[in-house]
Amino acid sequence: MDLIANLSLGFHVAFTPGNLAFAFTGCLLGTLIGVLPGIGPLATISMLLPATYALPPVSALIMLAGIYYGAQYGGSTTAILVNLPGDASAVVTVVDGHRMARLGRAGPALAAAGIGSFFAGCVGVLVIAAFAPQLADVAFRFGPAEYVSLMVLGLIGAVVIASGSLLKAVGMMLVGLLLASIGTDVNSGVARYTGGIPELADGISFIVIAMGVFGYGGIIGNLGSPKSEREIPISKVKGLLLSWEDCKRIVPAILRGTAVGTALGILPGGGATVSSFAAYAIEKKTKLHDGEVPFGEGNIRGVAAPESANNAASQTSFIPLLTLGIPPNAVMALMVGAMMIHNIQPGPQVMTSNPELFWGLIVSMWIGNAMLIILNLPLIAIWVKLLRVPYHWLFPAIVLFCAIGAYSTHYSPLGIWMVGLFGAIGYAFAKLELESAPLLLGFILGPAMEENLRRAMLLSRGDWSTFVTSGVSATFLAVSALLVLIALRPSVREKREEVFLEE
């Protein structure tokens, strides 16, 4: 029973009082910050990342996992209470969730989201524990060519699920890859595009880009939009309990959402966003019971299903990350960055060289999930108060925290100013409807992609056909091509836009 042995090793590592405390702190901080309007898991992790530098790697990752779940759940709380999705994956939750809150049913909506997320998280952890070792075995047989093709697949996946124009998303991905080439070239030691600035020799920090584009860029955009769009009165939260009828309704919805999320999370480039849209779409296709509120008008299933899917997917999206080292979305890309800071190169070797870390992290994910539900159900009343913090207090605080976070990456004011620069760039991206997620993914994958490409080409003596003569690599490239073709088909293109524009 490898599964049990592995999980008990994980429990052994994660169940220390210290690590439990880190998981708890992470969840608490993540929820606290994630619940702020406009700050999703991405911004939360980039802001709190410096806080984990000083910790030992296992504790740091445990805390980060806690932050991640906390932020994700916090984002759903804001989505339900104030109609502001913290990130793309909570966009669907807004539809029925906020409708429920307006009807005074915010309590059941939050409870359904919490319970759905917890159940989905449990299933996700079991799936990881059962399948990650097998997937890692496969990954061990990967050569540089296979890695390059897999990264191409991951990047194409991110491009395909980005909203808006496909061509522009490809462009952003290329910009990300190019930005990643700034800094010292590992093979030759040549400093590329640094303009002689010593701080740039290590390349641009991805936190700086993330905080600039998402933090500053978002604030500038928000302040530029009319006041009525950002400040929405908050309805009173009445009661938290689910009625018996609610329970009966959400059980099948949670099961369906979990299944969809688990499956989609494993795919590189899938991730939480698509899974919540997919789960909502499936839920909408099912028949309404007698006397049930239609979807879009406060149906509790419209909250439970996407929230479960989103959490299951964020759980299983650790599989491509931990076994293949390929981040499936921008948040996971940040996690890779965090691991690299702690000198852990994510990939199949983590499982054998660092089994304590690997299984400890998996168990701590489950602990993080359990912590979330313990923490959040009683705290909803407080979150509502926190949401009353007016935006004109909030945004200077975010500007400040991002600046301090940036300073702590290199202890140089240049880091702070770079956040400002990327803030302006990020605002311009938003005005031009250019998606930043593919850029960040390209930026994170860039160095590994270049290195593996160079290695693969060296091994094949400059023969590009090496990418199609290996079966595995050819399959990845074929799937990537297929994804592009599917996304380009007129019917899908309309659907894709429809999904992202819904409501």
Binding site: L174, Y216, I220, P413, G423, K431, L458
Partner: protein, 163 residues
């Protein structure tokens, strides 16, 4: 030729320029061959790809665009853009100092006040007393969280005080 989608038109130009800048820069490094790529190879290829893609996006923007609104970029939020950037610039300069301008490091707390006061101008209206309170509150929080708890190496007070 008329521009049907302003956003895409500008995006395309942006891609082309960015790609060209990186490609030209890459040409100054050793390119190498496909078998032995130099430091310039990867950025050169990507830069050319991005430039080409930018041209496609620009040209497509002069044909019929998918958006009914003509893909207008719309008004820029100059006020928040300017003040957020200024606040950021001032915080960096105050916190660490700029030796080139013989500006000494004034530390975290003066930096926070500078940042909050400038950033508050990004919103259309502000209340000076509230802003002062916010700056004081954030100074306390930042000192406790970043200096006492997280032990970040931040200069807290002006450099000439601590000496």
């Amino acid at each position: 030729m008329s521009i049907k989608n302003q956003r895409d038109f500008v995006s395309g130009l942006l891609f082309t320029t960015t790609g060209a800048v990186f490609a030209v820069g890459a040409a100054s490094y050793s390119i190498g061959t496909a078998a032995r790529m130099g430091p310039g190879y990867f950025p050169l290829v990507l830069g050319i790809m991005l430039s080409a893609l930018g041209i496609v996006v620009t040209v497509r923007a002069t044909r019929a665009g998918p958006d009914e609104d003509g893909g207008k970029i719309g008004a820029w939020a100059w006020r928040p853009l300017l003040f957020i950037l200024l606040a950021n610039l001032a915080f960096g300069a105050t916190l660490a100092g700029v030796p080139g301008l013989s500006l000494p490091s004034l530390g975290l707390i003066p930096g926070i006040y500078a940042l909050i006061f400038i950033a508050s101008h990004a919103a259309a209206e502000r209340n000076l007393r509230e802003v002062a309170g916010l700056a004081t509150g954030l100074s306390v929080i930042s000192y406790v969280v970043f200096v006492l708890l997280l032990k970040l190496q931040l200069p807290v007070w002006p450099a000439f005080f601590s000496r």
